[in-house]
Every structure is written in C-alpha cells, then in structure tokens.
C-alpha cells in the first residue's frame, strides 16, 4: 500500500496511511532536530482531527533509527492529551530492538487502562 501523504523534516520522514479503521503514521529515519515539536506537534494535531470513534491514530515507530530526547516531548504531550480525552492512540515499537523497548516501554505510564491509549511492542 502506498502512503496517502509523506511528510519530511530533514532526516525524519513520516508516511501517512489512511485505511478506514485507522490513521497510521509510520516514522522513518532519524529525529534529531533541535526542536522536533515544530514539525511533530502540528502533524499530531492535524492527525487527531481525522480520528475518533472506532477509528484510531496509530503511531508506528518500528522503523525509526534514532530519536533524541526532545522528540519525546511532543509525543508524551500527545499521549497525555489523548489519555484525558475520548480518542484512541496506539503506539507501536519494535520489541526486538533494545533501545526501542527501553524508550517506548517507559511510555506505558500514559496508557489509559480502557484501551484508548496503548503502547505495544511487536
């Protein structure tokens, strides 16, 4: 399947896929800008407007090579915002990649308990 949109910010690429049941953002490359929020926060906000009800936002980080700590700031703000709301977000990481397991499993603290915010290693 080809992405419906591709967004880029230097060495980071985000591909968007739009099947009916979800809006999937696939992250590739390296997120190493000084302020990744400038690129990611508007992308997250726009994506949230396109999901709701049974349609979930899926953040697929399995192919990302590196994220600096500043990249986690817009990500955890998104998770916290969704946790308090009614939409659903599923974050997927590569369970066999050690750094991804260390980094992303810590985000389980933002899981909502009702399945709306899920952090999953695959």
């Amino acid at each position: 399947m080809n992405p419906s949109h591709t967004y880029s910010d230097k060495s980071l690429t985000v591909e968007q896929f739009d099947p009916p049941e979800e809006l999937r953002l696939v992250f590739k490359g390296r997120s190493n800008e000084r302020d990744p929020s400038k690129f990611l926060t508007p992308l997250f906000n726009t994506s949230l407007l396109q999901v709701g009800g049974p349609r979930a936002l899926v953040l697929d980080f399995r192919n990302i090579e590196f994220m600096n700590s500043s990249t986690f700031t817009p990500l955890v703000r998104l998770l916290e915002e969704v946790r308090k709301g009614t939409t659903s977000v599923r974050l997927v990481y590569a369970a066999q990649v050690k750094w991804q397991t260390l980094s992303f499993s810590a985000l389980k603290v933002f899981e909502s308990g009702d399945g709306r915010v899920e952090i999953m290693g695959e």
């Binding site: 700590s69 700031t73 050690k98």
Partner: protein, 159 residues
C-alpha cells in the same frame, strides 16, 4: 577518541555515525554501541543548547574505552551562571536519588507531558543517559569557565 567541533546543531549530527563506527570498531556489542552513541548525542545537544560561546570557541568530545568502563566527556564554555550550574547539580543529584533510573525517567516523562513550552529545559536528556544509557553522570567547571559533563558506562565483565 577526541573531537573538536563548532557549537552548531548541524555539526553535531554527523557525530552519530562517527561514534557508532568507533564503538563498533572497538568491539562493543551493537546495543551497547547504540546506547553510547545516544549518550554522546544527548551530551553534545545539551552543549549546543546551553553553552556560552565566543567566535572561536569549540565543543570538545573525549571518549575513553577501558576494560571496565567507557567514559564520554563533553566540554564547552559556559557563562559563570551559578543558577544554571546549580540546576545541573540538582538534576544529577535528583537522578541519583532513585534506586532505579527507570523510575526517574518515568517521573520526568510525566512532568514533561504536562509542562508548558515556556518552562524551559526538561532535563529529559540527562535522565535518558542514566536510564537508557545506563551511565553515571558527573560534571565539573575548570578555571577557564568550561563545563565538562561526563557519563561513565560500566562494561560487563565478558567484554
């Protein structure tokens, strides 16, 4: 390994590839090499963000691999700002106060998730160095107003 570089964001990005190759070439396993490259990158990013540089000032990166540990030290000029150094000291002491750095990382993630952008430096990079980089942080300021922040990563005995 010793590198000097201008304090510019675009200059520190390629250090990722150089350090990864260096750690792999030294025989460290891929996961350890990745973790140490991450530690190096976080220290360099902090140096660019919070350093106080004159026209010819540079950032110095020193990496020493010994039998029992790896030390990564990043040195750069700082303003003689007691408050900033006090904040750095408090952050490092705060991290050390946790029995497991994972707990510190989670606490800082929770704080970042509700902080406003105006609240400034998150300290998340330092906590990540302790948790994901499994390194012990320290710092000192020398007589030239240069701040040296170090991360020491113990190596397993089978290295």
């Amino acid at each position: 390994m010793t590198l000097k570089m201008p304090p510019e964001w675009e200059t520190i990005k390629p250090v990722w590839d150089a350090t990864t190759a260096y750690f792999n070439g030294a025989g460290l396993d891929a996961d350890t090499g990745y973790a140490l490259a991450m530690v190096t990158q976080e220290l360099l990013e902090n140096a660019v963000k919070y350093g106080h540089f004159g026209p010819s000032d540079q950032i110095r990166l020193e990496i020493q691999i010994r039998r029992r540990d790896v030390t990564i030290e990043v040195t750069h000029r700082v303003e003689p700002d007691e408050a900033r150094l006090k904040r750095l000291d408090l952050t490092i002491q705060w991290i050390r106060g946790f029995q497991n750095p994972f707990e510190a990382y989670v606490e800082r993630l929770k704080a970042v998730s509700v902080a406003t952008p105006q609240q400034g430096e998150s300290g998340l990079g330092l906590v990540r160095i302790a948790y994901e980089g499994q390194s012990i942080l320290d710092f000192y300021v020398n007589e030239h107003h240069e701040l040296a922040v170090s991360a020491v990563h113990p190596l397993r005995s089978d290295h």
